[in-house]
């Protein structure tokens, strides 16, 4: 692997290798000294064209734990606001002899475009409504950790599937790992041609929580972006919570050992109740911890490939 642009292009073996490698790094994170010298002397730039706290922090910590030199580049401080073109920005950064670029951008396909114009390894940290591959990988890692397997599990993703890069990466990832996938959401927030697009025959779609939650092993909640309201996707946040909010009562429809996940940041009282978010089924904070291990693993694997090259 030279780049990590999306789960779409990964094989099942690629995914398994990343998850396995992340396991080793998770062990490192349990030690007293959490830093390894593996990528000392390598330089990474975190290029965030869209605001992000969690993902950027997680990447930065992972990079530092790998002993990398880290450069942060975010929009408000950048030349982009001065009208510089994307590729000019990339060429400028390229001139610093960068080894890795971690890219977050509001337009789908930007990491793919950049990968064609740089010698550095590109890691997609979320592009438009396309993919957020490291999130899907850390989600898979977390499920594996809690459930011991993914193949055959009933996993439901709930919310704004249409605009969610997290959902899309998870659909690619979990289907490649053999999960039985379900989606729940308002019809206005479900994408068209799901089976043809994802090449999954048995993906199930539900409009009602009561139907879709039955007997599931894993519930993945998505963040509802508040700007969607007023665009006609749903009438109000209150109504959204009434119809698609995850409550304790609804969660009882799932299997007793169900785990609840959320990529954060959460909107309590809109897509998830506090009781569930803070309850015993929630693995939301484990996801955050595992994010570091996954990102370390990816940096390691991409770096490894570069050495061979």
């Amino acid at each position: 692997m030279k780049h990590l642009l999306g789960i779409r292009d990964l094989s099942t073996e690629d995914i398994q290798r990343i998850l396995q490698t992340a396991g080793s790094f998770k062990d490192v994170l349990k030690r007293d000294i959490k830093k390894v010298p593996t990528l000392r002397g390598k330089t990474v730039v975190n290029l965030f064209f869209e605001p992000s706290t969690r993902t950027r922090t997680s990447f930065e910590l992972a990079e530092k734990r790998m002993s990398m030199d880290v450069l942060n580049f975010s929009v408000p401080a950048s030349a982009v606001v001065k009208g510089e073109s994307l590729l000019d920005t990339i060429r400028t950064i390229e001139s610093y002899e960068i080894d890795y670029m971690v890219i977050r951008h509001q337009s789908s396909g930007v990491p793919h475009l950049i990968a064609k114009h740089t010698k550095a390894s590109v890691i997609n940290a979320g592009d438009g409504i396309n993919e957020h591959p490291t999130q899907a990988l850390l989600d898979a890692f977390t499920i594996l950790e809690k459930k011991g397997r993914i193949a055959g599990l009933k996993i439901v993703i709930v919310g704004d599937i249409l605009h969610s890069r997290v959902a899309r990466s998870n659909i690619f990832c979990l289907s490649k790992l053999g999960a039985k996938l379900r989606l729940i959401g308002p019809p206005t927030l479900l994408p068209p041609a799901l089976k043809e697009a994802f090449l999954i025959d048995d993906i199930e779609v539900f409009y009602r929580m009561e139907e879709g939650l039955e007997d599931v092993d894993v519930v993945m909640m998505l963040r509802i972006q508040r700007e969607r309201q007023g665009k006609g996707f749903f009438p109000s946040e209150g109504e959204y919570f009434k119809l698609w909010g995850l409550t304790e009562e609804r969660l009882r429809l799932a299997r007793p050992d169900v785990i609840v996940m959320h990529p954060g940041p959460m909107n309590r009282g809109i897509e998830i109740s506090s009781e569930v978010a803070d309850g015993p089924s929630s693995v939301i904070l484990d996801q955050v911890t595992n994010g570091i291990a996954i990102r370390m693993a990816i940096l390691y694997l991409l770096g490894n490939q570069r050495e061979i090259r």
């Binding site: 789908s108 396909g109 793919h112 592009d127 409504i129 041609a193 697009a197």
Partner: protein, 436 residues
């Protein structure tokens, strides 16, 4: 100067000509067509001789939908480079769409374009004026004055006239001038923010989709308005199956409607945008296999009258952007004929049908004296080698716009020589035709 084109296969549907013969051009005009091979035309010593043996001799192609970008966007294309690209592709007449800067919504801009085309144009340019002032869809532009200045049709191309009342008025008012209203059919509310066809590919690539219905709803609306007004409606760049069906039904009903499609809609599907290829970003977006088949069917049964290019050149830097930000459009003049000849090679259309769709019909719809080899008219002629293969190389485009999704494709059949304004323009790839 006299030019004698000898021994070519002449096809001119306007005069029912389809056979081997000679064409004599005198001072830039068609002097005579001789079809009987026995009557060999005697060549005077000072005549220029073009041996067209093995070639087809056709009326110069007429593109009723292209963007020459002047005034305002000469970094994308100029009237000079656009018309040269046209000649290379076999076109001798181009209709330039009004989405320039300033918009061609008044006679001054129309006159500017025509003056520039007269001075610098390598082929003929027929401006299309805007339907509404500033293409804003709010208020009719001065159609009468623009028509008097030389506009041959009206369109807010690139933008639809969303207000049904304004569209009704345009269809009514333009009846005075007997020119078509060319409709870019797109419901802006349904297409908002969209960059590819809505469906499999938009879901797979995480790009916002434009449903086919955004186009079809407006085709249906405009058909109803054409029925109401009796105005002349021409539907631009039809891309969907149900769009074709709507037009077919309207024609059966006797509504005054004509329609065009573009080579990319019968050659490519939405799959072409895979890997975020901005050169395949076009509006309306590339659709699906069933649409592609329906477009070909529509061309075969006459529902679609015209193959236009929608030549939309853009600067390299503009296409080398985020997919969402990159402008829509394909630089099409230099590949349109070859892509359309594929329909001939595959047996969907006869060469005569193709001449109708790319030359005679657009001229007839626009009411311009083109698309014919009739005696006395300016000699706009294209010589076509049906079997010459070549590899598309965008870097060798004459157009300033190198934005094509067909780069690297091998195509069969091409214009080898285009005669226009009394000048023989051999295609670079076409070796020495016309140099004798």
């Amino acid at each position: 100067m006299n030019i004698l084109i000898k021994n070519g296969h002449i096809i001119d549907p306007s005069q029912d000509i389809d056979g081997i013969g000679d064409v004599l051009i005198e001072n830039g005009r068609i002097k005579e067509i001789i079809l009987r091979p026995s009557m060999v035309m005697q060549r005077a010593p000072d005549w220029k001789l073009i041996d067209a043996t093995g070639l087809y001799v056709l009326p110069g192609l007429v593109d009723m939908h292209c963007h020459l970008r002047e005034p305002g966007f000469s970094h994308k294309e100029t009237i000079r480079t656009g018309t040269l690209a046209g000649l290379k592709g076999g076109f001798t007449s181009l209709c330039s769409m009004p989405n320039t800067n300033p918009v061609n919504d008044n006679e001054t801009v129309t006159e500017f374009i025509l003056r520039k085309a007269y001075a610098e144009g390598a082929c003929y340019v027929y401006p299309v004026g805007a339907i509404t002032k500033g293409q804003r869809g709010e208020e009719l532009a001065e159609l009468g004055r623009m028509h008097a200045a030389g506009c041959v049709a009206f369109s807010d191309d690139g933008r639809p006239v969303m207000n049904s009342l304004i569209m009704r008025r345009a269809l009514e008012y333009s009846k005075v001038f007997e020119v078509p209203i060319i409709s870019h059919c797109e419901d802006l509310a349904l297409s908002e923010g969209g960059v590819v066809n809505e469906g499999k590919v938009s879901t797979r690539l995480g790009l916002k989709g434009i449903p086919k219905e955004a186009e079809e709803i407006m085709i249906a609306r405009d058909i109803m308005l054409a029925r109401l007004t009796g105005g002349r409606l021409h539907i631009a760049h039809v891309s969907t199956k149900r769009g074709v069906e709507l037009i077919r039904r309207a024609k059966e009903e006797g509504i005054n409607i004509s329609a065009e499609t573009c080579p990319h809609y019968f050659t490519l599907t939405e799959e072409a945008v895979v890997d975020y290829n901005t050169n395949a970003k076009v509006n309306p977006p590339l659709r699906t296999e069933e649409d592609l088949e329906a477009i070909i069917e529509g061309l075969k049964d006459g529902t679609i009258d015209v193959i236009a290019t929608d030549h939309a050149p853009h600067h390299r830097d503009e296409k080398l952007q985020e997919f969402d930000r990159a402008p829509s459009g394909i630089s099409g003049l230099e590949t349109a004929l070859s892509l359309s000849l594929k329909l001939v090679h595959e047996g969907h259309l006869s060469l005569k049908d193709l001449v109708l769709k790319m030359s005679f019909n657009p001229a007839r719809i626009l009411g311009i004296p083109k698309g014919t080899l009739r005696q006395g008219l300016p000699a706009d002629i294209v010589l076509v080698d049906l079997n010459r293969e070549f590899k598309v190389n965008s870097e060798s485009f004459v157009s300033l716009g190198k934005n094509t999704p067909f780069d690297g494709w091998t195509l069969k059949g091409m214009a080898v020589l285009t005669i226009c304004k009394d000048i023989c323009n051999p295609n670079d790839l076409g070796s020495s035709y016309g140099s004798q």
